[in-house]
Subunit: 127 residues, 2 copies
DNA sequence: AGAATAACGATAATGATTATCATTATTTAA
DNA sequence: TTAAATAATGATAATCATTATCGTTATTCT
C-alpha cells in the first residue's frame, strides 16, 4: 500500500481527539465533536481519515455487534467489555489473555498473529 | 419476546443445512444452497429465519470484520480463527479460553456472562 | 371446515460505509 | 517563492448487507 501522506489539520485533530477520549466512539460521534472546530467538516473525511489511521496501525477498530464500528487509539493489546444494557464499551483487565495466541498456535495447524477478545454482560452502573 | 412460532419447511431446512456444514456461511450462501430445493425462496426469508433461530438460541452469529455476518449452529462455547488470506472461518481449540470469563469477572467491576474470541492469521493452506 | 395468524415472496427502505469528482491545501523542486 | 504535482477536502451519489412492509399463502387451533 502506498503511504504517501500529506499533512492535514482534520486528520491531526481527529487523531488527537481519539487519543483524548476513553469511550471507543463511532465515526458519527467523532464527526459531531470535530464539527465544533471545523464547521464545514464532511463525514466522508472522518471515515477516510479513520481508515488512513487504521491502515497506518495508529488506531484499531472494535466491532460491537450493533452494525457500527468503534475506534480506539489504544493499540497495545487489551480486551473490551460491552454492556448488554447500556452498550458502553470499556477496557478490561484479563492478564491470561496474553497467552492465548501461543496456545492457539501450538494446538492448531494455523499461524495466529492477532486476536480480538470481547466480553459481554453488565457494567458496574447497570448491574 | 413472543415466541409463538409456526412450523415452516423453509426454516426447518435452513436449520438442517446450517447444522450440516462446518463453514460458517453467510446468509447469501445459505440462500443459494436452499434455492436448489425451494426455487422461489426469498432472501428475506433466510434473514428472517436466521434471526428467529438466533433469538431462540439455536444458532450464533459470528462477526468476521468484512461487513457480513456468518452463522453457526454449533452453540457450545468455542473460538474462531479467520484466515487473513482466504477469509475462511474455522473452529479452533484453545482450552484456557474457558477460564477467561471467571478471570474477567474477578478482576473487573462488571458481570461477565459471555465472550467472543476470534483469532486472525494464516490457515494451514495459506501459510 | 373455517377463523386466526405466522410465514412467505417480492420488493422498497434503511443505515453505515465507500466511491466519485471538482476544488483546495500541502509539499516539492526549479 | 513560485509553480507544478498531488494528497486531502466537502458534497453527494453509490454500494451493500440487512430489515421493514405488504399482500398472499400455509399452518394451527377450535
Amino acid at each position: 500500500m502506498n503511504m504517501n501522506l500529506k499533512h492535514s489539520k482534520q486528520r491531526d485533530s481527529l487523531f488527537q481527539l481519539l487519543k483524548s477520549v476513553k469511550n471507543h466512539p463511532t465515526a458519527e460521534w467523532l464527526y459531531h465533536e470535530l464539527k465544533k472546530d471545523y464547521s464545514n467538516l464532511s463525514l466522508a473525511t472522518v471515515y477516510r481519515n479513520l481508515n488512513v489511521l487504521y491502515q497506518c496501525g495508529e488506531i484499531i477498530k472494535v466491532e460491537v455487534g450493533d452494525g457500527t464500528d468503534r475506534y480506539d487509539a489504544t493499540i497495545t493489546p487489551h480486551c473490551h467489555f460491552i454492556c448488554d444494557s447500556c452498550k458502553r464499551v470499556i477496557d478490561i483487565d484479563v492478564p491470561s489473555a496474553q497467552k492465548l495466541n501461543d496456545e492457539a498456535n501450538s494446538l492448531n495447524d494455523v499461524i495466529v498473529t492477532n486476536k480480538n477478545l470481547v466480553f459481554y454482560g453488565l457494567c458496574s452502573e447497570c448491574k
